[in-house]
Amino acid sequence: MTALLDRLLDRPVAPVAAPRTEKRRIRLDWIARHSIAIALAIMFLTPVVYLVLLSLMTSDQALTSDYWPNSWHPENYLKVFQATPLPHYLLNTMIYAVSATVLTLASSVPAAYALAKLKFRGRNLMFLTVICVMMLPPQVVTVPLYLMWARYGLTGSLWPLIIPTLFGDAFCIFLLRQFLLTIPSEYLDAARVDGCGEWRTLLRVVLPMARPGIAAAGLFQFFFCWNDYYGPLLYTSENESSWTLSLGLASFRTVHHVDWNLVTAATVLAMAPLIIIFFFAQRSFVQGITLTGFKG
């Protein structure tokens, strides 16, 4: 697993010992590959670069088909903080994403540990149920859940999004279980022989070893909440003071008819934290993604 991850992240340079006649062909291949990759890289980067450029224009120039700002206006980013409810959206998004991440991890780790390392009757059934919940389109249970939260008077707030995270998240449980399976059971047996109870084994032995898996699961949850549009649309759209970034961005146009530069500045601000986090935690990401998909 670790070896694969190393290769995924940084492929070691394999020594090439080719005869001279082969060298020309290899060089041509090299050029062809890099040309394709560079062309694709430009295509992948263009939308982001274009947004950033738009966000630095005047609002008049942003309405034209120019790509390059005539004059640079980084103060647009200040303006979007002062003249729009963006700080408020940002705060709501942070509240949602941070609390949901912490609570999801706290409630999912024990369940994932039980599914991966404890033997009990109904374990397969429980695991299958977790998979089904994970695969279930959220729209299936939307109406009954909405009615339930409405009955408790909690629609219009972030509570319907946060409270469920107290009770585990199917994707998080699945991801953590896959990671915990890679920890050899001998470590746990050793702890048990030393007289550790199951909870102590989990907290003292498993948690430190599972840190990369927990980091990956936490990051995914944080990103999911940060990006979530359907949940906030469903529960908070009736009350603007509970709106998150996704919701705010989607409705910016009505509030600020022509200020494309501000809309794009807000859009850049919504994605910047994610990209920064990614650069610091690339390894966890790649590991998490690999865990969810590669075993056939």
Partner: protein, 307 residues
């Protein structure tokens, strides 16, 4: 017996939060949805039993037909295009001995961007009048399409948007492709196999389970496709709103982006036909469950066994 009971209690203590969660946010709403699907009610009235009426209504609902068509279009086009794109990128990346890291990071980056932000970016990028894409096409003498403002091009535009965010699937395929033993390729080279041959007879069989995984998760993802379709419709039509109001711009232009989940949301939260919305939900559930069962029966990673 006492020890066993104690062990059971400890195991239960690990599982309790998740069990409550599954009961309260999965089993309970699912059973309610089944019951509600046989009733008629709105936010102000009490459910009234109407038998199979809601399911019969599905048979002649022109909007539902359109939504099903659009969703099937997305399943038929988006799912295979995504898989081919991800395999293509991963096959390109494994070729590099040096520099793969930077390309991989760039290809992955868009997958991080919030769907709402990514959709806004694409609507600007593809804007018919002033967008840079049509500007570029014009420079090479091509009359660019209307993209998100054209009934024929709106769904292909969404597919492009989806391809841009292909990073996660690419990493999954990259891991699978890197897992193929180098010795197999070397042996094939000695036998004089060319690149396509090697791909066909070595890479493809090894990554077949991953293709199945990608197909199933892709179909599930497409069945619940909501955010991008909703936001693209509302921004491109120029009437961005939220709440029940957003459903007014759903499907823009001319219903071409009206997917199944959008119709479900509209029925439930704009028309408050909650009984009918639940019938639509149960139909969606049946399809999603069927697709999931295919994966569960085929993929080892999902079995309860330790792997």
């Amino acid at each position: 017996m006492g020890v066993r009971l104690r062990r059971g209690a400890i195991t239960f203590s690990f599982l309790a939060p998740a069990l409550i969660g599954i009961a309260a946010f999965f089993v309970y709403p699912l059973i309610s949805a089944v019951y509600f699907s046989f009733t008629k009610f709105d936010l102000l009235s009490v459910p009234q039993w109407v038998g199979l009426d809601n399911y019969r209504r599905m048979a002649d609902d022109p909007f539902l037909l359109q939504a099903v068509r659009n969703t099937l279009w997305m399943v038929a086009v988006f799912v295979p295009v995504r898989i081919l794109g991800a395999i293509g990128l991963s096959m390109l990346l494994v070729q590099f001995k040096r520099g793969a890291g930077i390309y991989r990071t760039i290809f992955y980056l868009p997958a991080l961007i919030p769907p709402v932000a990514a959709t806004i970016a694409f609507v600007y990028l593809l804007k018919p009048g002033t967008g840079p894409v049509n500007h570029l096409l014009e420079m090479v003498g091509v009359d660019g399409p209307l993209w998100f403002n054209s009934p024929a091009w709106a769904k292909p535009s969404l597919v492009l948007l989806g391809l841009w965010g292909i990073g996660e699937l690419m990493i999954i395929f990259l891991a699978a492709v890197l897992g193929v033993p180098e010795s197999l390729y070397e042996a094939a080279s000695l036998d004089g196999a060319n690149a396509w041959h090697k791909f066909r007879s070595i890479t493809l069989p090894t990554i077949r389970p991953v293709i199945l995984f990608a197909a199933v998760t892709g179909v599930i993802y497409t069945l619940q496709y909501f955010d991008q379709a909703a936001v693209a419709g509302s921004i491109a039509s120029g009437q961005a709103t939220v709440g029940a109001g957003i459903s007014q711009s759903f499907g823009y232009p001319e219903g071409s982006t009206f997917t199944y989940p959008l119709w479900l949301y509209t029925v439930g939260f704009r028309y408050s036909a909650l009984g009918y919305a639940n019938a639509l939900a149960i139909a969606l559930f049946a399809v999603a469950l069927g697709v999931t069962v295919i994966l569960l029966r085929r993929a080892k990673a999902f079995s309860g066994e330790e792997s």
